[in-house]
Symmetry: C2
Subunit: 225 residues, 2 copies
DNA sequence: GGACACATGTAACGGGTTACATGATTTC
DNA sequence: GAAATCATGTAACCCGTTACATGTGTCC
């Protein structure tokens, strides 16, 4: 049996499918391709191309720059076939790591300044990513993108990226504003206003029929026997 | 030196800070706390509590259920102090894993049906998460949440969650509609329309930035590990 | 009294990360 | 011609995963 490929493998295959790259270029150009939707360390890419080429999915061509070797990889028919088969398998769901939310939960342990700093960082990170998104947009409008012939597909992805970041950015802004309007991080007098805000959130709540009567929460101190 | 804690460690600490839990409850209740913003396997939690308690940040109490032991953990002062110190460090940026976008990029290698299936899966995943979000909302409105006294904080997080999912869901819907309006996945005659759509995306491009003076961006902080 | 879900973990593998090494090119 | 930066990787540790193991209440 061939060893199992990971999503990272397919991400690399997908990038090489566009055109051949040296490993270094591959690792660098991930920024323009998958850095924000499938972030991985550079060294993972180096390892991945070797695996893929040992399996015959990539074709590695050694070149020489002075006394240094470098390898340029292109995708093979077998590689394209692997991608094709992958497309028929179930997709893994959208997932995120958002440390700032964990900090928010314990924010009252720290100072107001700290949580404001955290949220400001989030806002700035998002701005930076949006700046990058604007760059990509401009590249396509100028007609100079490497994947210019694929605009009809890439546009869908850029749409996703921009929409999502605008949402996160807007959330950061309004949350900053809310917290800055507080005197401190204590609950005093804040919960009622918060309930009002929760009530207005755009999501359906389960109907009372389905509403499970509160299950007596698991006992923290079970009886001995 | 004490071993370095990871964000997962702090996530566990943060959850135990709410009130004591047995390890099993901890692992289960992650769904209601961090599953969607900091997803980790259950076994990671089991290992983490042992580490944290060996460091004195958690206090583990052995109890007996029949002949089986179980451990109930509560946070120590030292644990709360660790959380406090953590709040002063730079936050790690929002990150996501979104395999569907990689598939979208290579979609023309496969069939229209396949990419439609993938996007439908995304839409359904989002619906399920939104259903959960609605449940949480209802719990707060009913006043029965375990963190009822923290509504003023949790509301901010629920806001984030719902906003983000609505954005992803809306994107999935309109992308499905777009692709279903196509005869096939070839670029024929699609790129011009796509450029028009890109032009309308709500993000500043470098050119427009040059024309519109923008306040100097705050410096980005370094990445945490 | 057998089946089955719940409860409570452990073992082991592998992907991802950080740290390091070394040659080539540019800058001053 | 030294320093800094770019280019091209390798090594090793550790977090996160999947798979498994075993005890306990419950249902019919």
């Amino acid at each position: 049996m061939a060893p199992q490929l990971t999503t990272t493998s397919y991400a690399v295959l997908a990038q090489v499918a566009v055109h051949p790259w040296s490993t270094y270029e591959l690792a660098q150009q991930r920024v323009r391709y998958f850095r924000y939707v499938w972030p991985r360390a550079e060294s993972a890419i180096y390892r991945e191309v070797k695996r893929l080429s040992s399996m015959g999915l990539l074709d590695g061509n050694k070149e020489w720059v002075g006394k240094r070797a470098r390898t340029v990889y292109s995708i093979t028919d077998k590689g394209r076939e692997a991608l094709r088969e992958w497309l028929a398998t179930p997709v893994s769901p959208f997932a995120m790591d958002f440390e700032a939310l964990i900090r928010l939960f314990v924010a009252p342990l720290g100072t107001k300044e700290q949580i404001v700093t955290t949220l400001t960082q989030v806002r700035d990170d998002v701005r930076e990513m949006l700046r990058f998104g604007g760059e990509v947009k401009q590249e396509f409008l100028d007609g100079i993108s490497v994947t210019q012939d694929q605009v009809y597909i890439r546009a869908l992805a850029v749409d996703f990226f921009i929409s999502l970041l605008n949402t996160v950015g807007a959330w950061a802004e309004r949350t900053l504003a809310e917290i800055e309007s507080w005197d401190d991080l204590s609950p005093d007098g804040k919960n009622e206003r918060a309930l009002e805000k929760i009530r207005e959130l755009p999501v359906l709540t389960p109907e009372s029929v389905e509403r499970t009567p509160v299950p007596p929460r698991t006992q923290l101190h079970p009886r001995r026997r």
